[in-house]
């Protein structure tokens, strides 16, 4: 203080002389007394000093920022502090990963359906029941080939997509079901 420069926030709070090489001065300016007050309340000046001394100078600003953040979190939530935020974010990550897994499974389903060769050539799709001889028709219906295949490729895939979209809308996505 004899040199004329104003003491930093920490030396003001601790009521001591603020030297030229004060560890706290670069990070706790006198115009923001609350910043040091809160880290002092949670960690204590001595511990902060030790922590900063153990770090290279170029990392101290980040360390102070994170200490201030943690101290604020602890004051706001004396039981969980920062850990509350971690818990909340972890839940978000889990939910997103679940949604992603559902979407990726759906894509896989779609791709598998597209990779399957059609059981009938395209020209046959346009043939109505009336064009078929009764014998031929009975072969298809008895073996249940056409209805099963068509159900799987059209309505089943629509159901899969529809259900997944329902799930997505539950999670808050707006998707239009055609």
């Amino acid at each position: 203080m004899g040199s004329g420069h104003s003491p930093c926030a920490s030396c003001k709070l601790l009521r001591r002389r603020c030297t030229k090489d004060c560890t706290f001065a670069p990070y706790f300016p006198s115009d923001d007394p609350h910043k040091f007050a809160i880290v002092h309340k949670v960690f204590g000046a001595s511990n902060i000093n030790k922590m900063l001394q153990e770090l290279p100078v170029h990392q101290r600003a980040d360390a102070v920022s994170s200490l201030v953040y943690e101290a604020n979190a602890r004051v706001r939530d004396p039981v969980y502090g920062c850990v509350g935020a971690i818990s909340y974010l972890q839940n978000q990550v889990s939910q997103l990963q679940m949604q992603l897994a559902v979407a990726q499974a759906e894509i896989l389903c779609i791709q598998m359906q597209q990779d399957q060769p059609p059981m009938l050539p395209p020209s046959m799709e346009a043939i109505s029941d009336h064009d078929l001889i009764d014998n031929d028709k009975s072969i298809f219906y008895e073996n249940n080939m056409i209805p099963q295949y068509l159900n799987y490729s059209s309505s089943n895939s629509n159901n899969v997509i529809h259900d997944s979209l329902k799930r997505e809308s539950f999670f808050g996505h707006d998707m239009h079901v055609s």
Binding site: M51, S65, S66, E70, Y80, G81, V83, L96, Q99, H173
Partner: protein
Amino acid sequence: MNPGRCAACKYLRRRCPRDCIFSPYFPPTNPHRFSCVHRIFGASNVGKMLQQLPVHLRTEAAETLYYEAQCRIENPVYGCVGIITQLHEQINDAEKELARAQAQIAVHRHDPHLQPKQQQQEEFQVEASEPAAITDSSWLEQNEFDSSALLSPLDSTWFL
């Protein structure tokens, strides 16, 4: 000296009174636990923080203080905050992936017979028109986190 002292009183080399604030949360079987919190927070601060809480919340508080202290020892620059940053990045990445997957699904719904090259172009258009929710990464400047939205305390095995 009383052989039944808690880890805190052993560490501080003092008598462990019957109503010791530390003893329920810092048993003598785990001396590392108290030495961690002492190194980061200091015995006096930990004692004050626990005293200010109702008894039924002190176990959780001691647990989270220990967790934060461990994080700070592991990562002296960022501590717990480093983990929060990583989680925000994971959320960001997962949201982008999800948007991409949903765009792909939307394109397939729109035209199931699309060729791969056309499909990529359509997906790009769908993604561009429906941006994924972007997590705000300036959380360090925000002091508005609402901890009342929390569901459950952290599973301590996650840290290991």
